[in-house]
């Protein structure tokens, strides 16, 4: 893959990324615009988990993630007639999800800074289930991995959201650089820079907390 230069930066945004909608996306869009019930069901079926996953990783809170995910779909339903199909349906939906998560985070920081939830909204971590699912590792390694996962989930909500977004889309959602560039509407170079800085920030966040044990695991 070519590295972006000053000359072809604009092209690199689209290189490899899916431009326009696929046949399947077009069918769903037609159904949504015509008010066909099955189209709505299919859209929810296809994107519910991924949208929720992105939003949850960015906000770190289950109830907030549900609210924001619902907002995302509401915007998709209402904006479908204005969608110009210059990007894929998935890219468009993910872009809305990222923006809504950021807006919610900003609103929450402004209005609810001092409030502390009494509930633990994070999904449960069934260590016993992970234990059973990973027989190739020693018990110590499985517990350590489980702890690391908890630590990294918390660290994701602590670092700069601009960087954490890029890291979530790349390392958790496994999207390509090009697709991430399209979602965030930035250049390929900016995407790489944000991912790099996001990973660095996570590494610093985790290694500078010696009591948490991650530093020991990395050593």
């Amino acid at each position: 893959m070519t590295q972006p230069t000053a000359g072809n930066k604009g092209l690199s945004i689209l290189a490899g990324a899916q431009s326009g909608v696929s046949e399947e996306d077009a069918r769903i869009l037609r159904g949504l615009r015509a008010g066909i019930e099955d189209a709505y069901e299919e859209l929810i079926e296809r994107y519910e988990q991924s949208v929720y996953g992105i939003v949850y990783r960015l906000l770190g809170n289950q109830s907030d993630a549900c609210d924001v995910a619902q907002e995302v779909f509401l915007k998709v339903f209402r904006g479908v007639s204005a969608f110009r199909e210059q990007s894929s349906l998935r890219t468009w939906i993910y872009r809305i999800a990222v923006n809504e998560a950021h807006n919610h985070r900003r609103w929450f920081a402004r209005h609810c800074r001092r409030e502390v939830s009494l509930e633990d909204d994070r999904p449960e971590h069934p260590n016993s289930l992970e234990f059973a699912q990973d027989p190739g590792r020693s018990p110590f390694e499985q517990v350590l991995n489980s702890e690391n996962r908890t630590l990294i989930e918390r660290a994701l909500t602590r670092i700069n959201p601009v960087f954490s977004t890029a890291v979530v889309l790349r390392d958790i959602q496994n999207l390509s650089y090009e697709e991430i560039a399209e979602i965030l509407q930035v250049s390929l170079g900016t995407v790489k820079s944000r991912i790099l800085r996001g990973r660095e920030a996570l590494r610093r966040e985790l290694t500078q907390r010696p009591d948490q044990g991650f530093a020991e695991a990395l050593a």
Binding site: L43, G53, C66, F73, I152, I172, S193, L196, E200
Partner: protein, 218 residues
């Protein structure tokens, strides 16, 4: 080097580049440690369990979808109609809590006004019952000591200069002769006509007063 290390971790380097980076990492402990840590962070991120959306989210999304679909069908995709319906709904919701008290207030006003309307008319009609009648102030005139309840005949005697020299009054009850020397002024005044309501019995809507002329005989 950092960008390269990122591509190295992601496995996006060409073979020659990859080899060059590996050679550097073998010599530089700092870079090697850093890359190793980044690699672990990335691996941990990859290993994060996919979060499962709660069941209630599906229900909420289906309800939203149903609502939006209904709005789309009703407005036929018209943005203007949609905005109109949205604000009409909001206004309806805003007015709903005050509809009952407002209606109750309006009804009460109608009942109260209807009840008071009769009293307003009665008070006005009561004012017209008084009959405007002139009377003489007691201090200014000579009054004959009779009340105008029936026919009164006043007889005056005047001289050539028009001065009253003698007078007598007669009504049904009796008569009396006056003392002309005691007259302060050269006139005889009839006492005040009592209140018209004392003279007549008001009927349902009219008051009838009878007057009998006082005859002066020269």
């Amino acid at each position: 080097m950092q960008r390269r290390s990122m591509d190295y971790v992601d496995g996006r380097l060409r073979k020659s580049e990859h080899s060059r980076i590996e050679a550097h990492l073998a010599e530089c402990q700092d870079c090697s440690r850093r890359v190793h840590e980044i690699h672990d962070v990335r691996a941990t991120l990859h290993g994060l369990r996919p979060v499962k959306a709660p069941a209630e989210l599906r229900l909420r999304l289906q309800i939203s979808a149903s609502r939006e679909r209904k709005a789309l069908i009703e407005t036929n995709g018209s943005r203007f109609l949609r905005i109109w319906n949205y604000w009409a709904f909001r206004l309806d919701e805003l007015m709903r809590p005050i509809t009952i008290p407002a209606t109750g207030g309006l009804f009460s006003s109608i009942v109260l006004f209807g009840a008071l309307a009769f009293t307003i008319g009665t008070t006005t009609r009561g004012v017209t019952y008084e009959v405007p009648v002139m009377y003489a102030e007691r201090g200014d005139a000579n009054l004959v000591p009779v009340e105008l309840r029936s026919s009164v005949v006043l007889t005056l005697s005047v001289d050539s200069n028009g001065r009253i020299i003698d007078y007598a009054v007669r009504d049904k009850a009796g008569s009396f002769s006056g003392d002309a020397t005691r007259l302060q002024y050269n006139n005889i005044s009839v006492p005040e006509i009592p209140n018209a309501l004392r003279l007549a019995m008001p009927t349902s809507s009219d008051i009838r007063i009878s007057f009998t002329p006082i005859i002066f005989r020269p």
